[in-house]
Symmetry: C2
Subunit: 140 residues, 2 copies
Amino acid sequence: MSDTPFPAPPESKADLESGDRLTPKFGADGLVTCVASDAETGEILMLAHMNAEALARSIETGIAHYWSRSRRELWRKGDTSGTQQTITEMRIDCDQDAVWIKVRVAGSGASCHTGRTSCFYRTVPVGSQPLDDLRLAIED
Amino acid sequence: MSDTPFPAPPESKADLESGDRLTPKFGADGLVTCVASDAETGEILMLAHMNAEALARSIETGIAHYWSRSRRELWRKGDTSGTQQTITEMRIDCDQDAVWIKVRVAGSGASCHTGRTSCFYRTVPVGSQPLDDLRLAIED
């Protein structure tokens, strides 16, 4: 498989936004952002990144693949932890630089490396001031 | 208000991930990614970016502020369109480089500049091959 199996984005913004072609707009780092939510509960589980290969494999296989920025390698999530993510739906946004996947998580159901279901386990108290005094509420 | 009203991230990864201090990890571009979902339906509305000032103002006022990468300016969403986003809950992820806000949208309720409720109005058919032949399903 080529590293860039997708057509290039059209020059016209209208075509990019209203067309039925998947022409992802990868950033200078070669990545699009991907947000994964739980297919059942709707909870946002994590935010990660995909390069062209990760996006292509996610589409072809229906299993979430990401690009690990820290390890600089293709990352089929769950290969070591058993928490593979099966994609039930994939969407792309207006300017095609962000992907939303709804997933079912295998194994323990944890999408966060801390063992929690979601990476978003801390709440920021809105209305707080001054900001350096605020305290996050933490879920177990 | 200072441009960097937040404490610096701690050196310890454990402190960053388990602590109750908000120490956002802004990227080299000075931004964190923010995903906004509908407080009622849970639908993901849009993905955008916040610099320190946008994040600080969002916390202090409870109204979503972003950093417009195209216009290179602070952007209180809805100021021209009437579709302000009132934040009902804000969360931050494990490594504190992504923010999730649940919002109520004023006015027309559109969070996408195309006039749609959500920017994610196109579905990618998972399981498709070859990729350059796939066609997106488009919602009105």
